[in-house]
Every structure is written in structure tokens, then in C-alpha cells.
Symmetry: C2
Subunit: 223 residues, 2 copies
């Protein structure tokens, strides 16, 4: 076994992190997140893979109450538009959900993507133009898992217009906002996703989602 | 401390996984990846966060030599086009890089996104239309980290035309291919990214990428 091989205990910790990570938008504790912990989350983001080693991301740390309130107001406007897109019973259920924790979370983080950081031609982006956005999302997921390992809840708030987000955080035209995250300590992590418990949508069976060799060809016969 | 809190040892394992993960495209060992390990990687992907709990992904497991060869041929075509986009010395360096391991890796995995799996209106996608693609990328990053914890190298091969990928793997029009991954055991993981060692691009300083409250406002004074 190589020197850098993961032990069974280490592997189990990684899987526990992946399995117990949740999209957290409520029940944040008021405790401040220490700077050293914020630094570790950011380092985890910066350790993400990136197309052509572009490292296209920036991280905006938001702790100011007025900025949080402005983001919350932008969410409220967008969420009213969103709620109107659902019908009947579904609209009622939608309105009952808690979909952000922008004011309660002690820490917000906006992750952005500067697409032309290394000029217009990027190794690995020539045939899949969104690879730089995807690299930035890998950074978000690294931060999400690091947050879980720090016992910090994290929620990705996507119900906001990007132009509001640009205005409030001063994001220039050539930079694309990718994710707005609310982060804070929580007393515990729920065993299942909020939307599953609320009856919004069921957990799909993994076996139905896996194919062998070609799309649509089941990998194994279900007994 | 809550029952589900991470210990220092568990947290260290998660950070070691994040830090030592590499984009691996060569030096794969021929050893087969056992089905039980493949199942764990897929479960890690399926545990990813998804917008509106959509779980928009499918996973196509590819082990057939002829399919790998067809994918490799598609890469070769696309890579010739890509190489022609770089100038002079840069083009020479580009041509010297090993950017895929499609034939050598014992296991390939294609991760796709079915955008309308729950109909046209998706909770959380109403104002950011690419959130379902981003959810799928979160699944890829989960798989990437799980692979590292399994001592498996993984590389994301993006230099292929999506239409070739669709044809070879029989992916229907309403499903979007997101990632083609080459996976296999490796004798060790490199300390730094291949593209950094090859001199393609430098590691950026994290402190230059972090802002406070607004884009462009440095978080801390650099001494």
C-alpha cells in the first residue's frame, strides 16, 4: 500500500461527511465562525479541480448586517415570483418551505467565476464551454463538505436574481456570480434532506439511475 | 458537542482528501475496480445536493474496450482542434501534455443531467437556470473525493464534442452529458497538479482571491 493511501478510518470519515452533509437554511446558532475556520473553508474551495488550472474563482465573505438584509430583500422579491410559478396545492407547500437563512446565518459567502482570467482560450474549455463554471461549482462542493466536517451547516440560496446579487455585492460585468451560501454552526444535522421530509419530492432509487455501457441499459437486473 | 459532530481525526481525513485529490490522466494500474467500490462511488454521487431535490443525474458505467476506443478517437479529433487554438510555444507545450486516460483507465463513468425530470418548473431553478447542471457537478465532485478516499485516481476529460459523446453512449436529446471521468487505481498521487508541474499555469495566492463584503475589497491587508 502506498504511503499516501487512505486508511479505513479516513475513508469512513470521508463517506460520513458526504452522507451527512445537508442543505441547511435554518436553526443556525448565533455563534460567530472564527477566522481560522473561514480560512480553512476558503482553502478547501481553492483546492478544487479547475479546467486548465484556471482557478477562476473569487470568494466574497459577507458578515455585515445591512448587506445580509439587502440580500434577504432580493430573495423575498424573487421568491414571490417563484411561488407564483407553482399551482394549487404545490404552491401552498412551496410557500411553507424555509428556503434561505440569509439573515440568521452569521456568515455568507458568494463564490464567483472570472471566465477570462487566463484569456479567451482555456485548456479543456475548447469543446465544453461551461467547464470553468463547473470548476467553480467543484469549489462550492469542497467548501460544503469542509463545512460539514467543521460542524457548520451550509445552504446554497439560488432564489435571487443574479443582477440583484451583482448590484449588492459590486460584482463587475466580466465576473459571473455562481453561488450564494449561508453558513453557521447548527446543533445537529437532519438525517434526511428538508425537501424530502416536507414531501416535496422523494429520494430516487440509485439502481434506477445507473446504466452499463449505454444510456438506458440497466447495469444489473433488479431481482 | 452534538452526537453527530466530527472529531478532529475525521475532520483531518476530510481535509486530506480535499487537499490530495488530483486530476489523474495517466499511470493507471490495470487492476479492476471491484463492483462494491463502484457502488460506493455511485452512492457518493447520489448523495450530492440537488436543486429542488431534483436528483437530475444518471451514471453510465463504461468498461467495454471498444467503447473506450471510440471515446478516445473522439478525444483525439477534438484535441487536434484544441491544439490549433494555441500559439507558438504554448501550442508545443499543449501538445506535450497528457490530457486523458480513456483507454488505460479500467473504468470510465459518464455523468448526465436530465433537466426536466420533474417538469419544467423546479424549486430553486426559477432564477438561476443552470442550477440543475451545477447539482450534477456537485455529484461529480463527491465522486472525485470518494475516489481519492478509495485510492483511485480520477480525471475529468472535457476535450470531446458533446455530440460525439451522445452518439457513442446513446444519450438522448433531452439529457445533457456533463462529465466523462476516467478512473483507476494509481501507485501514488502527485503532490501538485500536473498542469502546475508542467509550467502551464501557476497556483494563485488564495489571499488575492478573497474579498470582504464587496467584490474587490481585500479581506485583510497583506503585510
Amino acid at each position: 500500500m502506498a504511503d499516501d493511501a487512505f486508511t479505513d478510518e479516513e475513508r469512513a470519515a470521508v463517506y460520513r461527511c458526504i452522507d451527512s452533509r445537508r442543505d441547511v437554511r435554518r436553526e443556525f446558532l448565533p455563534d460567530e465562525v472564527p477566522d481560522a475556520v473561514v480560512d480553512r473553508l476558503l482553502a478547501a474551495g481553492h483546492a478544487a479541480p479547475s479546467v486548465g488550472f484556471l482557478q477562476p474563482w473569487n470568494f466574497i465573505v459577507v458578515q455585515d448586517v445591512a448587506t445580509k438584509a439587502a440580500l434577504h430583500a432580493a430573495f423575498t422579491r424573487a421568491n414571490a415570483e417563484a411561488a407564483a410559478m407553482f399551482d394549487g396545492k404545490r404552491a401552498g407547500l412551496y410557500r411553507s418551505l424555509k428556503l434561505e437563512g440569509l439573515c440568521e446565518a452569521p456568515l455568507l459567502l458568494c463564490v464567483t467565476c472570472e471566465r477570462d482570467r487566463a484569456g479567451p482560450v482555456v485548456l479543456g474549455r475548447t469543446h465544453q464551454s461551461e467547464m470553468d463554471l463547473f470548476s467553480t461549482v467543484c469549489a462550492v462542493q469542497n467548501i460544503w463538505l469542509a463545512a460539514r466536517a467543521e460542524n457548520l451547516g451550509l445552504g446554497w440560496v439560488s432564489i435571487l436574481s443574479l443582477s440583484d446579487l451583482r448590484t449588492i455585492l459590486g460584482i463587475p460585468e466580466h465576473v459571473l456570480p455562481i453561488a450564494l451560501l449561508c453558513i453557521g454552526y447548527v446543533s445537529h444535522f437532519a438525517a434526511t434532506p428538508d425537501l424530502e421530509r416536507a414531501g416535496w419530492r422523494r429520494r430516487l432509487a440509485l439502481a434506477d439511475l445507473v446504466f452499463s455501457e449505454r444510456f438506458g441499459a440497466r447495469r444489473r437486473e433488479t431481482p
